[in-house]
C-alpha cells in the first residue's frame, strides 16, 4: 500500500459492540430459545425465507418463524457451516449449488442443532414465499422431503419490466386469500383476524421508518454507521422474526437514538476493534458478505478507513428507502407489494439504477461488488452491472469473489490484494482530480 495507508489496528480478542448490537444479539438468542422450547411450549413452527417473509401474517396465527438462511448464516459465523456443506455433498448434493442449502441440509443430517445447542423443532408448515431466488423453490422441496409437512407456495412474479402490474398484485392477493391464509388457519387452528394483521403492519411501518432513518445517516460525513457490516446487525430484527412486533419497534427506536447520538458527536461507525477513526473511503457494496470469515473480511475495510455507506444486501429482506412502508389500510396488497419489491426480485436495470443512485446520494468514492460463488440470483449479470455503473456514475468499481458460508471459497490474500489495489485506484483518481483542479 502507499504511504497514506493507515496502520492496522491490533486485533482484539472480543469484538466491540455498541449497545444496539448487544440488544439485537439478545433478541436473536431469545428467539432461538422460543424455537427450541416449542416442543415444550406447544408453539407451532413455520419455516420460511427472509426475502418476502410474511412475518406479520405468520404471527397472526401464533406461529414462530424459523428462517433457514439465518440458520446458515449463524453456522457461517460460528464456523460450523463448512462441515455441514461437506456433509451435504457427501450425501449427494452437488458442489456447484447454493451453500445456504447445503449448510441447512448438512446441519439437519448432523443433529439439527440451533445456535443455543438445542435441537430445532421440526416445522409444522413450510411457507415458501417464493421471491427473488429460484433456489428457494428447490430448497423447500428438499425440506418437504425431509419433514413431509404442509407446504404453502406463494409465487411472487418477477419485476422484469421494472413495475408491479395489476395482474401481479391480483395474483398474489388471491394466493394470500385462498391458499396461504386458509392453510395457515388449518395448521395453526387459529382463525385469521385482519385487524390483528393491520395492527402488526402499523408496527412494521414504524420500525421501517426508523430503519430508513438509520441507514440514511450514512449520507453524512463521517458516516456514523457502516451500512454493510454494521448494517447486517441492523437488518437482523426486521428481516428476521421481529417485523411487526413491539420488540422491533423498540429496537429500531433505540438504534435510531444511538446512531443519532453518534452523528451528533461526529463519530464514525463502531467496528469490532472500536471506533473506526478517520473515514478515508466511502463505498457502496453490491452482494452479500462472506460469513465464515466475517470479522476478517470487515477488518480489511476498517483497517483502511473504508466505510460502506450503502449496500444492496441490506435490501434483500425489503427495500424501504424509496418510500415503501407496510400499509395497514390495504393489508394483503401491502404484503404482496413488499414481496414483489425486494431487491433480488428487481430486474437488472432497476438494480443498476438503485446502485448509481446510492453512489450519488451517499457521495461514495466507488462501488465494490462481492460476487458470491453459489448465489446466481445476485451474481449472474454483476459484471455487466459493474460496467454500466462505472459508465453512468464515472466512479471506479472493483470486483471480488467469495462465498456465503463455504469457507473453501474465502481467499483472504486475494481479496485483500484486490481491495488494496482498489483503494490505490481511488487515491489516484483523487490525485488526478486535484491536479486537474
Amino acid at each position: 500500500m502507499n504511504a497514506t495507508t493507515a496502520a492496522p489496528k491490533a486485533p482484539g480478542k472480543d469484538a466491540e459492540k455498541d449497545a444496539s448490537m448487544q440488544k439485537q444479539k439478545a433478541m436473536m438468542a431469545a428467539h432461538y430459545d422460543r424455537l427450541t422450547d416449542a416442543p415444550q411450549s406447544g408453539a407451532k413452527v413455520c419455516s420460511t425465507f427472509v426475502p418476502g417473509n410474511l412475518n406479520e401474517l405468520i404471527a397472526c396465527f401464533g406461529l414462530l418463524n424459523n428462517l433457514p438462511e439465518v440458520n446458515a448464516i449463524q453456522n457461517g459465523l460460528r464456523r460450523t457451516s463448512g462441515q455441514f456443506v461437506l456433509e451435504a455433498e457427501k450425501i449427494g448434493h452437488s458442489e456447484d449449488v447454493c451453500t445456504y442449502v447445503k449448510s441447512d441440509i448438512g446441519m439437519m443430517a448432523k443433529g439439527n442443532l440451533a445456535p443455543n445447542g438445542r435441537k430445532f423443532p421440526d416445522p409444522d408448515v413450510l411457507l415458501l414465499s417464493y421471491t427473488g431466488c429460484f433456489t428457494f423453490m428447490k430448497w423447500f422441496e428438499l425440506l418437504r422431503e425431509q419433514f413431509d409437512c404442509e407446504t404453502i407456495m406463494l409465487h411472487t412474479p418477477y419485476m422484469a419490466d421494472g413495475r408491479i402490474t395489476p395482474n401481479m398484485l391480483e395474483y398474489m392477493v388471491k394466493q394470500l386469500k385462498e391458499e396461504v391464509i386458509p392453510k395457515l388457519e388449518r395448521v395453526s387452528g387459529v382463525k385469521f383476524d385482519i385487524d390483528q394483521l393491520r395492527e402488526r403492519l402499523k408496527k412494521s411501518a414504524q420500525a421501517e421508518e426508523d430503519l430508513v432513518h438509520v441507514l440514511q445517516t450514512a449520507r453524512n460525513r463521517p458516516s456514523p454507521i457502516d451500512a454493510y457490516f454494521g448494517g447486517i446487525y441492523y437488518i437482523g430484527p426486521i428481516f428476521g422474526a421481529f417485523r411487526g412486533t413491539d420488540d422491533a419497534v423498540e429496537y429500531y427506536r433505540f438504534l435510531r437514538a444511538e446512531v443519532d447520538a453518534r452523528l451528533a458527536a461526529g463519530l464514525g461507525p463502531v467496528t469490532p476493534e472500536g471506533d473506526l477513526g478517520k473515514e478515508r473511503y466511502r463505498l457502496v457494496v453490491e452482494g452479500p458478505p462472506n460469513y465464515t470469515n466475517f470479522r476478517q473480511f470487515w477488518k480489511m475495510f476498517y483497517d483502511e478507513g473504508a466505510v460502506v455507506v450503502a449496500s444492496s444486501y441490506t435490501k434483500v429482506g425489503g427495500v424501504y428507502d424509496f418510500g415503501f412502508r407496510h400499509d395497514p389500510d390495504k393489508p394483503l396488497e401491502t404484503l404482496a407489494e413488499y414481496c414483489l419489491s425486494v431487491y433480488t426480485n428487481r430486474n437488472l436495470p432497476m438494480r443498476i439504477d438503485m446502485l448509481v443512485n446510492y453512489l450519488e446520494d451517499y457521495a461514495a468514492d466507488g462501488l465494490l461488488i462481492n460476487s458470491i460463488k453459489s448465489c446466481n440470483s445476485f451474481s449472474a449479470g454483476q459484471l455487466l452491472m459493474m460496467r454500466e455503473i462505472e459508465k453512468r456514475s464515472g466512479k471506479p468499481a472493483a470486483f471480488i469473489e467469495s462465498d456465503l458460508v463455504d469457507p473453501r471459497y474465502f481467499s483472504a490474500a486475494n481479496i485483500k490484494n484486490r481491495l488494496e489495489s482498489y483503494f490505490q485506484m481511488i487515491e489516484q483518481r483523487r490525485a488526478g482530480a486535484r491536479s486537474a483542479a
Binding site: F134, D148, T151, S371
Partner: protein, 394 residues
C-alpha cells in the same frame, strides 16, 4: 461415430445437421428476407407458447446457446467462472451479430441466470423487444390460470403491436392447430423410438427436434412425417443395448457427441427431456373457445414436469420420471446435468431418492455444452449399461 443413416433418412438428417451447425441461423434469416416485414422472435429454454408468435405471422426461433462449435470470446467477460455456459454463449451469439436479425427475445422463467439474462439483454440490445416470460407456479384455474391468461394477453398485445395489427382469435386457433399437429408427430417419433430404438438413433431424434427450433412449424411437421415414413421403410441392425431415460438436459444442451457416445457405450435413449418446448404440452389444445384460456389450462394441467416447475405434492414429486421409465420400458436413468445448473442439480437428489424407492438404477454426471472429452462419459455410461445387463441376467 453415429451409425450411418439409411439413404432415405440420411438426406433428412443431413438437412437437420446443416441447420444444427449453422450458428448464423441462415434458414431463419432466409425466411425473414423472403417477405418484407417478416419478424423473428427468439426464445430460450424451456417453454414459450410458440402459438402466439406464429399467430402474429412471426417465426419462433429457439436459441439454446452456442454448443461446442462456438468460440466464446466476449461472453466470458460477462460471467464469472461459476456460472453455467449457456448464458455466456448466448451473449456471444448476440454480441457477435449472429442474432442481429432477431426482432424480439423471450426469456422464460426457469432459473436466476436466465432471469437475469433477460435484464442484461434489455441493457445490451435496447432495440430488441425483450420480455421475461413468467409462468404460474400455482396451478388453480382461478388463481394461476387467471394470472397466466393475463400474461398471455399482454404478450399477445405486444406481439400484435410489433407487427402493427392485433392477433385475432382465428389466427391463434389456426396456430394452435398447427402446433397440435406438430406435437402429435413429435410424440409419434418418440413413441416409435420407444418401440424400436434401433430404428431411430438418439442423435437423429435430437437433430430433428433441433430443426423444429429454427424451421416454420409446418415445414418441421413435414420433415417429421418424411422421416417417420423413411425410417419405417428400412430395418436397421438391432444392438444388445440397455434402455435408458436421459434427464437433466432441459436447458443447456449436451454436445451432440455426448448423445452419440451414450448409444455407442451401450445405451438406447428411449426418453429424454431435451428440447422440451417441442412436446411441453402433453395433450392437444382445444381450437374452439378462448384460445388464451385453452393455452393456459393446457399449461396448468397438461404439461411436462421439470425442475423449473414447482411440484405441489410430495407424493407426486419425481413420479414423472418413474412414469417415463415405465412408459418407455427403460431399465435405468442417466442424470446428465450442466455444470452449475441450479434447477437440475438441486432437483437431482430428490429424483434419485424416488428412483431408488422405485427400484430404478441410475448414474449421474455433469457436462457443459462445449465438453470435448467424451471418454469418461463413455466409460461411465458403458459401465452403467453393463451393470444393468448383469442385473437383468440375474
Amino acid at each position: 461415430m453415429l451409425e450411418t443413416a439409411m439413404p432415405e433418412t440420411a438426406a433428412i438428417i443431413d438437412h437437420a445437421t446443416a441447420l444444427f451447425e449453422d450458428l448464423n441461423f441462415g434458414a431463419a434469416r432466409d425466411w425473414k428476407a423472403a417477405v418484407p416485414g417478416r419478424k423473428v422472435v427468439g426464445y430460450l429454454p424451456i417453454y414459450v407458447p410458440r402459438e402466439l408468435i406464429h399467430a402474429a405471422g412471426m417465426l419462433p426461433l429457439g436459441i439454446v446457446g452456442g454448443g461446442d462449435q462456438l468460440e466464446v470470446i466476449h461472453g466470458d467477460a460477462y460471467y464469472q467462472s461459476y456460472i453455467c455456459r449457456i448464458p455466456r454463449s448466448t451473449i456471444e451469439l448476440g454480441v457477435s451479430g449472429r442474432l442481429d436479425f432477431v426482432d424480439a427475445m423471450l426469456f422464460p422463467s426457469i432459473c436466476d441466470v436466465m432471469r437475469n439474462l433477460s435484464g442484461m439483454w434489455k441493457l445490451m440490445f435496447p432495440q430488441v423487444y425483450t420480455r421475461y416470460f413468467d409462468v404460474p407456479q400455482n396451478y388453480r384455474d382461478d388463481i394461476g390460470g387467471n394470472y397466466y391468461v393475463n400474461e398471455l394477453a399482454e404478450l399477445r398485445h405486444e406481439l400484435g403491436a410489433l407487427r402493427g395489427a392485433p392477433i385475432t382469435d382465428a389466427e391463434l386457433n389456426l396456430s394452435i392447430d398447427a402446433y397440435n399437429e406438430n406435437r402429435r408427430l413429435v410424440n409419434e417419433l418418440y413413441g416409435y423410438r420407444i418401440a424400436q430404438p434401433w430404428q431411430v438413433p438418439a442423435a437423429e431424434v435430437y437433430l430433428l427436434m433441433r430443426a423444429g427450433l429454427v424451421l416454420p412449424v409446418d415445414e418441421h411437421s413435414a420433415m417429421l412425417r418424411d422421416y417417420l415414413a423413411a425410417a419405417r421403410r428400412t430395418a436397421r441392425p438391432r444392438r444388445d443395448n440397455c434402455r435408458i431415460v436421459l434427464t437433466g438436459v432441459f436447458c443447456e444442451q449436451p454436445p451432440l457427441n455426448l448423445i452419440k457416445s451414450l448409444e455407442l457405450s451401450g445405451c438406447y435413449v428411449v426418453d429424454d427431456d431435451l428440447l422440451l418446448v417441442t412436446r411441453w404440452l402433453t395433450a392437444d389444445v382445444p381450437t374452439g373457445g378462448d384460445p388464451l384460456r385453452n393455452l393456459a389450462l393446457a399449461f396448468l394441467h397438461h404439461s411436462e414436469s421439470t425442475a423449473a416447475k414447482y411440484e405441489p405434492s410430495q407424493k407426486e414429486k419425481g413420479q414423472h420420471l418413474v412414469r417415463a421409465v415405465r412408459r418407455s420400458n427403460a431399465e435405468g436413468v442417466i442424470f446428465a446435468s450442466p455444470s452449475f445448473c441450479d434447477p437440475a442439480l438441486l432437483d437431482r437428489p430428490m429424483l434419485q431418492h424416488v428412483l431408488s424407492a422405485a427400484g430404478v438404477p441410475y448414474v449421474a454426471f455433469k457436462y457443459a455444452e462445449n465438453s470435448g472429452q467424451m471418454q469418461p462419459i463413455r466409460e461411465q455410461a458403458g459401465t452403467f449399461a453393463d451393470s444393468i445387463k448383469l442385473w437383468s441376467e440375474q
